[in-house]
């Protein structure tokens, strides 16, 4: 017994039995269809029907399409059942792609068969009267009985195929299916079906609806194709490294606010580093004390530590999305482009505003999508009060790079309702002032 069978035996059996039962249903429906066909080709001539290639060719074309689609449905379901059987034997039922595709094809072909049958009925109940056919319950009742049986069996067959598809999705539910993709494929299928019917019956309203379904399906497939993870995952992943940084600051008894270093202090201009002095009111370091030593933690020449801020990588990502290095731009450019990158490109917030007031810079973020992480990060007192959250340090690094001056992190406040995040920095010459 395979792992899947032991986990859900009814599902595993159903995916072999149901498609095979569809093959049986197809056989019975072919029987009723042939009886109906016999009525048309024998009984109707007794009621004055005149043979003409005009109606016969149309009738035969639809008849062959019906029989062909029924054979197709049987074949597809048989292959699907054999495929699932082979997958169980190979102990691999995790992603039965082929079974799902085959079942969807089976459903579409069965639906097409119904459409072909409706066209055939319109020939019998419309066109044939133009060729002298006289209505009589003598032929009509057996015809209707067989037609109802045929359609009933096709309906049952569709229901069985849909049930099989649900079972396939049930197996799939073990893995993560993007709901957007499921919706997109359903829209595409529905659109294809509606468009086909519109084409068959010449309905422009249905054609509009079908095209709409297809367009929105394609848009969902295209726009929902990015991978997303839960917001809480981010906090879970970054929290241990932030906790380590918090403990390091605690053990080294660093009390100063983080100073984000401009390129002048670094041998690699593109790097992001922050200096945190031991003393709470420690002055800014000198570039020569840090340059070339930015990959160390402890400094001999200055009483402080050098750390890579938690948001260093976010700064790099923002540079990548904006398409330039922040070392090559000024503060005005940052005021203009950073909100675009945050809001439109990364979709991290509804709005971001950078206000510069002399040497103070205030960044206000409205409806920040990662607000949930603040609950946990705020428990890391040192990190939260001295260097800020990853977002605060990322913006701090961007400001230091673009202004070319030391930028001090001042504070970060989340509004009571959690909709606004305000981060304050001080810049350049004002760092010595109190």
């Amino acid at each position: 017994m395979t792992p899947m069978q032991s986990q859900n035996p009814s599902v595993s059996k159903a995916l072999v039995i149901l498609p095979l039962s569809v093959v049986g249903l197809v056989a019975v429906s072919v029987f009723f269809y042939l009886r109906l066909d016999t009525i048309v080709h024998t009984e109707l001539y007794r009621f004055e029907l005149e043979f003409s290639s005009e109606w016969a060719e149309k009738y035969w074309a639809n008849s062959w399409l019906i029989l062909g689609s029924l054979v197709g449905v049987a074949l597809v379901n048989f292959v699907s059942a054999m495929y699932m059987l082979a997958r169980y034997r190979a102990r691999n039922v995790q992603r039965p792609w082929a079974a799902a595709i085959l079942l969807v094809i089976g459903i579409c072909v069965a639906a097409a068969c119904v459409a072909f049958f409706n066209r055939l009925e319109s020939i019998v109940h419309g066109d044939l009267y133009r060729f002298d056919l006289q209505f009589s319950v003598e032929w009509a009742i057996p015809y209707w009985v067989n037609a109802r049986w045929f359609l009933g069996l096709i309906g049952l067959l569709l229901a069985v195929d849909c049930t099989s598809l649900i079972y396939v999705i049930k197996i799939w539910a073990i893995e993560n299916i993007a709901r957007e993709k499921v919706i997109a494929w359903l829209l595409l299928l529905a659109g294809g079906g509606v468009l086909f019917l519109a084409w068959t019956y010449g309905s422009s309203i249905s054609a509009f609806a079908g095209l709409g379904f297809i367009l929105w399906g394609l848009v969902m497939l295209y726009a929902g194709s990015k991978r997303y993870v839960e917001e809480s995952m981010l906090t879970t992943l970054i929290f241990p490294s932030l906790a380590n940084l918090d403990r390091l600051l605690e053990d080294l008894d660093c009390r100063g606010k983080a100073l984000f270093l401009p390129p002048e202090f670094l041998s690699d201009f593109e790097a992001c580093r922050a200096y945190i002095s031991v003393e709470k009111s420690g002055g800014p370091p000198k570039p020569e004390h840090i340059r070339g030593k930015e990959n160390r933690v402890l400094l001999k020449e200055a009483s402080g530590v050098i750390v890579e801020p938690p948001g260093a990588e976010l700064t790099m990502l923002l540079e990548k999305r904006i398409g330039t290095s922040f070392t090559r731009v000024d503060l005005q450019f940052l005021q203009r482009e950073l909100p675009k990158a945050f809001v439109e490109k990364l979709q991290l917030a509804k709005n971001l505003q950078i206000d510069v007031e002399r040497s103070r810079i205030r960044v206000t973020i409205n409806d920040f999508s990662l607000m949930g992480m603040y609950e946990k990060i705020s428990s890391l007192v040192r990190v939260y009060s001295q260097i800020g959250s990853p977002v605060a340090s990322a913006i701090g690094c961007a400001l230091a790079k673009s202004t070319g001056e030391l930028v001090s992190f001042e504070n970060e406040v989340v509004s009571q309702r959690g909709r606004y995040l305000t981060i304050e920095y001080r810049i350049g010459s004002a760092l010595g002032e109190k």
Binding site: T200, S206, F208, L215, V219, E231, A349, N366
Partner: protein, 68 residues
């Protein structure tokens, strides 16, 4: 059996669809931070622009048809 829509119908449909897509991309912006939106609004906007370009192509075809 002809397709029930002509170029003029398709043109109208493309125009309406592009407006809907662009409006949707803007509405998605309102949802950022409030709900978990798993649709990339930039891509929805790009799709809207692409459909709008298709609409302009149909207009160009109509103009060419009228001129020639």
């Amino acid at each position: 059996m002809d397709f029930p829509l002509n170029l003029w119908d398709l043109s109208l449909w493309l125009a309406a669809s592009s407006i809907l897509l662009l409006v949707t991309s803007e509405v998605l912006l309102e949802l950022i931070g409030r709900d978990r939106v798993r649709v990339d609004r930039m891509r929805v906007r790009n799709a809207g622009i692409a459909v709008a370009i298709l609409f302009l192509v149909t207009i160009a075809l109509r103009i060419l048809e009228a001129v020639s």
